[in-house]
């Protein structure tokens, strides 16, 4: 019989090494995963809280809001309201996984399989991550960002930098390119780019230009609206990008800060679109690896039972009327769909053959799954692979809540023959960021007049912006734009529902 990896709950660094080696063997040989090199770091609870408050990254620029989050998490952790995650994993190359020191040996094996192989494979292979993130460059880029922010604080004052970052953070969710652009992001080049531009400025600096009398400005009134919009690249839904490129009175360093915040938002964009898949993949992988290790006799029955206990907690899905219910658990949903795919591929029933003719009975479980992991995001994944059997298993139903409807909330579809497709489409939609985030874009700038920036919010299903928050965000936007900003909420028939106009706050006298 093969030697056990560990006995009981204790572990040391040799144990971790043995566990990682064993997991790697299963992951690469049996599951055929393709992963970034792994780096595993053991951390304390305090360090885990640290990581929480800087969005899970090992290094980040300094900002008060991270301190706020830390205080918040710490308070709820101390009161026992919140447990800490067993691990955090970073989409970088090498892929860094943080393990909590309190974990038992079984838990360490679980999280190594989960993070260092499951998440890692997903990061490396999913098309969204390939398209939008640069795993090789992210750590260097964060280092650059941190130093850049620090330098700006030295040079231009902490208050000024904080003001710009506050504004940028408020617009962060609208600082994302949703469609692939011309070129792939190269984060390593970013630092060089900033340096080159500064150097260029220094080289061409000539104080004489200041003294040259300015001629009469050319009349631009002839510009047609179409031409103007084209020149400004409108309509533009990436508000941070638009400000970085077109805001008339921002200092170069402010533009660079907007760019940094934009890049970081972009880096996290795929994660928000693949929560179910990402966690599903990792859960599926850890389940396969741990089961295999148990079959090989490398994990004892007792430890395997401990694992099953934790695993069951992770994939627990409370029902809608359970007090613990807070939406679909991405671990549960993702894991269930992937296990279901395994069943369809190996032991299909007639219903499956009808619904999934492409994969039913193909017998190559890992091939199918690897393909799914590489080419789908939550929305398309649920939209295509949620089977009737699973909808029956979860007993899903669709509620339609129209405030105009007096009778109450309508049950629109349930898990029956008539409802399968509608339930599935609706659940897929709930995971589509296009529907989750407000659709706001810059549509025009009144260049010849008062330079007012005009934005539209395309209201879907009557869901308008929260007023207080919208005003505050617009205030930040106006401060960056330095002229008036108007946000118009229009419904699908171009009917104006509401209009906000915000003027920039006067900038306090600059401190030298």
């Amino acid at each position: 019989m093969t030697e056990r990896l560990f006995e009981g709950a204790d572990w040391d660094f040799h144990t971790l090494q043995r566990i990682t080696d064993a997991c790697e063997e299963v992951a690469l040989k049996d599951l055929g995963l393709d992963v970034y090199p792994n780096q595993i770091e053991v951390i304390t609870a305090e360090q885990m809280l640290d990581a929480y408050s800087s969005v899970g990254m090992p290094l980040f620029y300094k900002h008060w809001s991270f301190g706020k989050h830390f205080a918040f998490h710490e308070a709820s952790y101390r009161k026992g309201l919140m447990g800490l995650a067993y691990e955090i994993v970073i989409n970088s190359s090498p892929c860094i996984s943080y393990l909590m020191e309190e974990n038992t040996a079984t838990m360490q094996a679980l999280v190594i399989a989960h993070a260092a192989f499951g998440h890692n494979h997903f990061f490396k292979n999913n098309y969204l991550f390939k398209q939008w993130t640069d795993a090789d460059g992210i750590l260097d880029y964060l280092d650059f960002a941190k130093n850049y922010v620090m330098q700006c604080e030295d040079r231009y004052g902490r208050v000024e930098v904080e003001r710009t970052l506050d504004a940028a953070h408020a617009l962060m969710s609208h600082g994302i390119d949703r469609y692939p652009g011309k070129k792939k992001l190269d984060l390593r080049a970013e630092e060089k780019r900033a340096g080159r531009r500064r150097q260029h400025e220094e080289e061409v600096f000539n104080d004489l230009w200041r003294t040259v009398p300015k001629g009469a400005t050319k009349s631009r009134s002839a510009l047609s609206i179409e031409r103007r919009r084209k020149l400004l690249g409108l309509p533009q839904e990436n508000l941070l990008y638009f400000l970085e490129k077109s805001a008339p009175r921002l200092a170069p360093w402010q533009r660079e800060l907007l760019r940094i915040v934009r890049h970081i938002a972009q880096y996290f964009y795929p994660q928000s679109q693949t929560k179910v898949m990402n966690e599903g993949t990792a859960t599926y992988v850890h389940y396969r690896i741990m089961t295999k290790l148990h079959e090989q006799g490398r994990i004892s029955d007792g430890n395997f039972l401990e694992f099953l206990g934790s695993h069951t907690n992770v994939v627990f899905q409370p029902e809608f009327d359970d007090p613990r219910f807070s939406g679909f658990n991405p671990y549960a949903l993702g894991f269930a769909v992937m296990q279901d795919i395994e069943r369809i591929v190996t032991r299909p029933e007639d219903e499956d053959r009808e619904w999934f003719p492409d994969i039913a009975g193909r017998n190559d479980v890992m091939g199918v799954l690897r393909d799914v992991w590489a080419n789908y995001r939550d929305e398309s994944f649920i939209g295509q692979f949620l089977s009737p059997r699973l909808m029956r298993h979860f007993r899903m139903f669709h509620l339609h809540d129209d405030p105009e409807e007096r009778a109450g909330i309508r049950v629109d579809a349930i898990h029956d023959e008539r409802g399968f497709r509608r339930v599935r489409r609706e659940l897929a939609r709930q995971h589509d960021v296009g529907f989750i985030d407000a659709n706001i874009e810059v549509v025009d700038v009144d260049l010849s007049g008062d330079r007012r920036l005009i934005l539209h919010h395309h209201v879907i299903k009557g869901s308008q912006l929260n007023e207080t928050d919208a005003k505050r965000v617009l205030q930040h936007l106006a401060d960056l734009w330095t002229y008036d900003v108007a946000l118009i909420e229009v419904d699908t028939n171009d009917k104006v529902l509401r209009e906000y106009v915000v003027s920039p706050r006067p900038i306090p006298a600059a401190v030298a």
Partner: protein
Amino acid sequence: MPIHIIDRRLNPGGKSLENRQRFLRRAKSLVQGAVKKTSQERDIKDVLEGGEVTIPLDGMHEPRFRREGGTRDMVLPGNKKFIEGDYLQRSGQGSAKDSGPGEGDSEDAFRFVLSRDEFVDLFLDDLELPDLAKRKIAQTESEGIQRAGYTTSGSPANISVSRTVRLALARRIALKRPRKEEIEELEAAIAACTDEDERVELVAELERLKAKSKRIPFIDPLDIRYRRFETVPKPVAQAVMFCLMDVSGSMSEHMKDLAKRFYMLLYVFLKRRYKHVEIVFIRHTDRAEEVDEQTFFYGPASGGTLVSSALQAMHEIVRERFNPADWNIYAAQASDGDNSYSDGELTGLLLTDKILPVCQFFAYLEVGESGGSAFDLSDSSLWTLYERLRTGGAPLSMRKVSERSEIFPVFHDLFQRRETAQEKTAP
């Protein structure tokens, strides 16, 4: 594939300390308000312990574009009895309606723990002793000398022999300078030698060693080390605070509690803010005594009232220990305002002639019964006297307190940082 396993647990903690400080700075006014509110409810001793405060998150809110309202669609698990086309009553379906992620709402007001230092800093943030005028003189005049390691240059008087010899020894060993014994041994060998060839060899060896020991000096200038001294500004005790408390029989428990709270606050403030403030505790009935803080705050006493006795005691202590030319002198007096009628004149005289001229600042706190308002009682004898002096231009501050909750505002009021003309002109 190489796998790195790294133990980060020993990395220095407090990585987010700076972010925390920024957060506190940002939320300063909110936190300060919360700190003051908390401190009113607490026992004064516990104020120092730090602890949990709650602040409204409104000022710290990070706004985002959020959508709300409109028609909502949701897919939920766990259907038991619904079929298509059923209607659910809105009120009864709370659990289904609340299912949206409520992240924004869950942090409306949030509690967090301040460390002891953070708490006290915020608590005492904008307070200071008024008119610390003599401080600057004191600072420039006194500089002490302190040993600060070794240096390679200096005056001959400061040569550190032991350090120099130690370095020389190390150098000689390192460069293999022949020892005296070795040369003597060799000379003895030459003297005892009979064979001519060997003798020539030994002589050559001797010459070589002698040359070498000449080349490598016993003590080289390189070895010499001097003791280094640094001048450090020598802190002199710059200020003294006299705490004068009336503990006579006319002071009720409530009044004593008020007075003690006030002094406790003063004590915390001075200890915390000024490293070199001396505090003198004087309590008096019809006679005054200087006591230590333990007795001052916790010792029982009772008797008649003669305010002048305390002033007299203070005056004597000043004369003995605190030369007004070098010291900033402050006094805070707490009393219920009762004084024997005959003592009034003497008190006034002492104050105007002896005490006030040497004092930077004199605060008088009159404690009253709970619920007693300043309006329905005629002013006490002491208050009347002090009021007269104050209108005459004496540097007196006077306040009345009758409730616990007033203590901090009054204290704050007395010691609030002021932009005095002197501060402004000071370099």
